[in-house]
C-alpha cells in the first residue's frame, strides 16, 4: 500500500485507466446488446475480439503499412495519411468482428434458438464456440501459440500534459476512436428504425413479433453491431498494447462482461459507464497497491461485488428497451 505513490501517479494512472476503460466499454456494448435482446451471455464475444485483433494485424501487414508510412526510416508521427490509415484499419477490424459475430450466431446459437433450448445450453454452446475459435487460432494461426507482435507503424509521441501526466498520441487515438464508435452506436440504437426494432425486441420479443418486427433479423443485426464494436475495440487495444495471442480475448472478455454488469447489463449507457469505471478502478487499484496487475483485477471484482450489493441491477439499471439509448 503506497498511498503517496498513488497520489503522485494519480493522473498518469487515470489516463491509462481511461484508455483501458474505453476498450472495455466498447467490448461491453457487445455483451450488453446481445444480453438485452436474448437474455444470453454471449461468451464468444471475447473470441470475436481476438479474431479482430489478428485480423487487423494481418491487414496492416498485407497493406505493408509500416513501409508506406515510414518517413526516412522513422515511423511518422502525425498527418492525414496516418489518420486515414488508422480509420481504414479500424473499419476492417470492426468488419472482421461483425462478420465473425454473425457467423457465431448462425452456427452456435440459431440452431438452439430454433429448438427453444434452455438458457444454460446456450452458455455451453457459446463456451464451445469460444474454445473452438481460440484453439483454432492457437493451432493454425499466424504465430500459433506464441505472441504476435505488431510492427510499429506510427511513432508514439507525447503530445501534451494534463496535471503533469503525459498524454501520448496513441492515448488520444484510442479514446477518440472509442468515443466516435460509442456515439455512433448510441445514435443507431436510439434514432434509427433498426435501433427501434432492437429496443422493441429487448422489451418484449413476442409483442415485437406481432407488431411486424422480424425478430431473427434484429437478433442477427444485434450480433453484427456487437461484433463491430468488439472488432473496433480490438484494433484500438492493439494501438495501446501491440501484442496479440490466441487467448487474448479471454481476460478482456471477462473484464468487459464485468463492466457490462457493473453498469447494468442490457443498458447501453450502463455499459459505457461501467467500462470506463472498471478501467479506472483497475488502473487506480494497481497503482494504489503496488504495480501488481493482479491487484487491479481483484480491485475491479471487489468493486463489482460491492456495487451489486447496494444496487443489485447495476449502476444504471438494466433496460435496453426502456432507456432512451
Amino acid at each position: 500500500m503506497t498511498f503517496e505513490g498513488f497520489l503522485s501517479r494519480f493522473w498518469p494512472s487515470t489516463i491509462t485507466g481511461l484508455v483501458l476503460g474505453a476498450v472495455y466499454a466498447l467490448v461491453a456494448l457487445g455483451y450488453t446488446l446481445v444480453y438485452g435482446v436474448l437474455r444470453l451471455i454471449n461468451f464468444a464475444n471475447s473470441e470475436v475480439f481476438m479474431l479482430s485483433a489478428f485480423g487487423s494485424f494481418l491487414t496492416i501487414e498485407v497493406l505493408n503499412i509500416p513501409q508506406r508510412l515510414s518517413d526516412g526510416g522513422d515511423p511518422v508521427k502525425t498527418g492525414w495519411e496516418l489518420i486515414g490509415i488508422l480509420a481504414l484499419c479500424l473499419l476492417v477490424s470492426a468488419l472482421i468482428g461483425g462478420i465473425s459475430a454473425v457467423i457465431v450466431e448462425r452456427v452456435a446459437y440459431r440452431p438452439l434458438r430454433k429448438r427453444n433450448a434452455p438458457r444454460l445450453v446456450f452458455l455451453i454452446s457459446a463456451i464451445g464456440a469460444s474454445f473452438a475459435i481460440s484453439e483454432a487460432v492457437g493451432e493454425w494461426g499466424p504465430q500459433r501459440r506464441k505472441e504476435y507482435a505488431l510492427t510499429k507503424f506510427f511513432k508514439k509521441e507525447q503530445l501534451f500534459k494534463i496535471f503533469g501526466a503525459d498524454v501520448y498520441n496513441s492515448n488520444l487515438i484510442v479514446v477518440i476512436g472509442a468515443a466516435v464508435m460509442a456515439l455512433a452506436l448510441v445514435l443507431f440504437v436510439s434514432k434509427s428504425r433498426v435501433g427501434r426494432g432492437i429496443r422493441a425486441v429487448a422489451q418484449d420479443a413476442e409483442t415485437a413479433k406481432l407488431m411486424g418486427v422480424n425478430v431473427d433479423r434484429i437478433i442477427l443485426i444485434t450480433f453484427l453491431v456487437g461484433g463491430l464494436m468488439a472488432g473496433g475495440a480490438a484494433f484500438l487495444y492493439e494501438i495501446h498494447t501491440p501484442f496479440a495471442r490466441y487467448d487474448v480475448g479471454f481476460s478482456i472478455g471477462v473484464k468487459a462482461f464485468t463492466a457490462a454488469v457493473l453498469g447494468g447489463i442490457g443498458n447501453v449507457r450502463g455499459a459505457l459507464l461501467g467500462g470506463l469505471l472498471l478501467g479506472l478502478i483497475e488502473s487506480w487499484g494497481s497503482s494504489l497497491f503496488g504495480s501488481d496487475q493482479n491487484i487491479g483485477n481483484v480491485a475491479a471484482f471487489v468493486t463489482l461485488v460491492l456495487v451489486l450489493m447496494v444496487r443489485p441491477s447495476g449502476l444504471l439499471g438494466e433496460s435496453l428497451g426502456r432507456s432512451k439509448a
Partner: protein, 390 residues
C-alpha cells in the same frame, strides 16, 4: 439445422460426429434401461448397484480393450476422471438442483487444495486425516461467505460475481507470499497407507490407491446427495429452481436453502480440491485457471443438470474425451469445442435429462403416487423470451 453444423468442419470431423452420436445413443439406451431398472425389486437393484460399484473399483485392474487411452490409464482415472466426477456432483448441487449459475466453482476447488497445502505443508504439519475435514469446512465457509452477500442477486449477476470470486482466489494466491505466491506450495502430505493400499509406494501403487480413494469419495458423496435430494432440503431446492417466488410464497426459506446449496456444493468442490492437492503434492495458482470452472460447468450441462447419474457421465465425457482425442495432439481442444457445440445442438437437455417428478406420498388413496409436473425447464428457459421480466 443440423446440416449446416455438420458441414462446416473439415471431413475429419465426421469421425468426431460419429463418436458424439455414439454417446447419445448410449444415453438413449440408458433411458430405457432406467425404466427397466426402476421396475426391479429392491434387493435386485441393490445387487446391481453393488456389482457396478465393484466393477468401477476394479476398472484399472481389468485391462479392458479400447477404453484405455494412454499407457498409464490408472493415472488418468485417478488424477483426472474421477476427481472430475466428484466436482461435477458438487457443482450439480448448485447448478442442477438449486438452479444457481456458478461460473467460479474452481474457486472452491482452489480453497480446498490450498487449505490442505497450508495445513499439511506450508504453515503446519497437521495429519492428513484431520486436515481433510478442516479443509472441507473451510471451503464450506468460503461458500457461505460468498453466498451471504451475493445470493440475493438474480441469475446472471450471480454468475458474474461467482466468476469474479474464482478469479480473486487465484489472484490472491498468486500475489500472497503466505500462500506461496507464484511458485506455489510443494510437499503436500499424502494419505496414510491402509494395508495393501499404498499411497507412498511406486507410482503405479500410488495411482491405484488414489483411484480407490477417489472412487470411495464419489460413492459416499453420491449416496449422501441421493438422500439429500429426496429430503426436505432437496425438495426445497427443486421448488427454488422451478419458481423462486412461488417457493418463497409457499413458505420455503429460499435464501437459507440457497445458502445451503452453496455451502454443500463448496464443500464437495473443496473435497475434490484436497484430493487433487494430495495426489499431485504440488500446487500453484496456474492449476486453478478460470477455464477449469468452465469445463466443470460443461460437464454438468453436458450430462443433464439435476440428474446425478447424468452429470457423472458428463464429467467422464469432459475429462475423457480430450484424452481420447489425444491423437489429434494439440488441436484436441479445438475439436472438443466443436463437439460441445454439436452435442448442444443435438441434445440440448444433456445426455441424461432430469425427470421432473413431484413426489407425493400416497397417504390418501385418491392421491396418485407420482405426478408428472413437466418435462420442460421453465426456470432455465431463455431461448424464448419468456423470461424477459424475470
Amino acid at each position: 439445422m443440423s446440416q449446416d453444423i455438420s458441414s462446416s468442419p473439415p471431413p475429419t470431423a465426421a469421425a468426431k460426429l460419429v463418436f458424439g452420436s455414439r454417446f447419445i445413443a448410449a444415453a438413449r439406451r440408458r433411458r430405457t434401461l432406467e425404466t427397466r431398472y426402476k421396475a426391479l425389486p429392491k434387493p435386485a437393484r441393490a445387487l446391481l448397484v453393488l456389482v457396478l460399484v465393484v466393477f468401477i473399483y476394479l476398472l484399472p485392474s481389468l485391462n479392458l480393450p479400447i477404453i484405455p487411452t494412454s499407457s498409464d490409464f490408472t493415472a488418468l482415472l485417478a488424477i483426472i476422471i474421477v476427481p472430475y466426477v466428484l466436482v461435477a456432483l458438487g457443482l450439480n448441487v448448485v447448478v442442477g438442483m438449486a438452479g444457481l449459475l456458478d461460473l467460479g466453482y474452481v474457486g472452491f476447488y482452489a480453497v480446498g487444495a490450498y487449505s490442505l497445502a497450508i495445513l499439511t505443508s506450508r504453515h503446519a504439519t497437521v495429519p492428513w486425516l484431520i486436515s481433510i475435514p478442516i479443509s472441507v469446512g473451510i471451503s464450506m465457509l468460503a461458500g457461505v461467505l460468498l453466498g451471504a452477500p451475493t445470493l440475493r442477486l438474480r441469475g446472471d449477476y450471480l454468475a458474474i460475481v461467482t466468476l469474479g470470486f474464482g478469479e480473486i482466489i487465484r489472484l490472491l494466491a498468486k500475489s500472497s507470499d503466505w500462500m506461496g505466491a507464484q511458485s506455489g506450495i510443494g510437499n503436500i502430505k499424502s494419505p496414510p497407507n491402509i494395508g495393501p493400499i499404498k499411497f507412498s509406494g511406486t507410482i503405479h501403487e500410488r495411482n491405484i490407491a488414489f483411484y480407490y480413494l477417489a472412487v470411495t469419495f464419489v460413492v459416499v458423496v453420491f449416496f449422501f446427495l441421493r438422500r439429500l435430494e429426496s429430503s426436505r432440503v432437496g425438495r426445497s431446492w427443486t421448488a427454488i429452481r422451478e419458481d423462486e417466488d412461488a417457493a418463497e410464497l409457499m413458505g420455503v426459506p429460499t435464501f437459507k436453502f440457497k445458502l445451503w446449496a452453496f455451502a454443500i456444493g463448496a464443500g464437495i468442490g473443496g473435497l475434490s480440491g484436497t484430493l487433487y492437492a494430495s495426489n499431485v503434492r504440488f500446487i500453484n495458482p496456474d492449476n486453478f485457471l478460470l477455464k477449469l470452472s468452465i469445463l466443470f460447468l460443461a460437464a454438468v450441462v453436458l450430462g443433464g443438470p439435476g440428474n446425478m447419474v447424468g452429470v457423472m457421465l458428463g464429467a467422464v465425457a469432459v475429462s475423457y474425451l480430450p484424452e481420447r482425442l489425444r491423437f489429434l495432439n494439440t488441436s484436441r481442444y479445438f475439436w472438443f469445442g466443436v463437439l460441445l457445440m454439436v452435442m448442444m445442438v443435438f441434445r440440448p437437455q444433456g445426455l441424461l435429462p432430469r425427470k421432473l417428478r413431484a413426489r407425493i406420498k400416497p397417504r390418501d388413496s385418491d392421491v396418485p403416487a407420482f405426478v408428472d409436473v413437466s418435462e420442460g425447464d421453465p426456470d432455465l428457459e431463455g431461448g424464448s423470451h419468456g423470461t424477459a421480466t424475470a
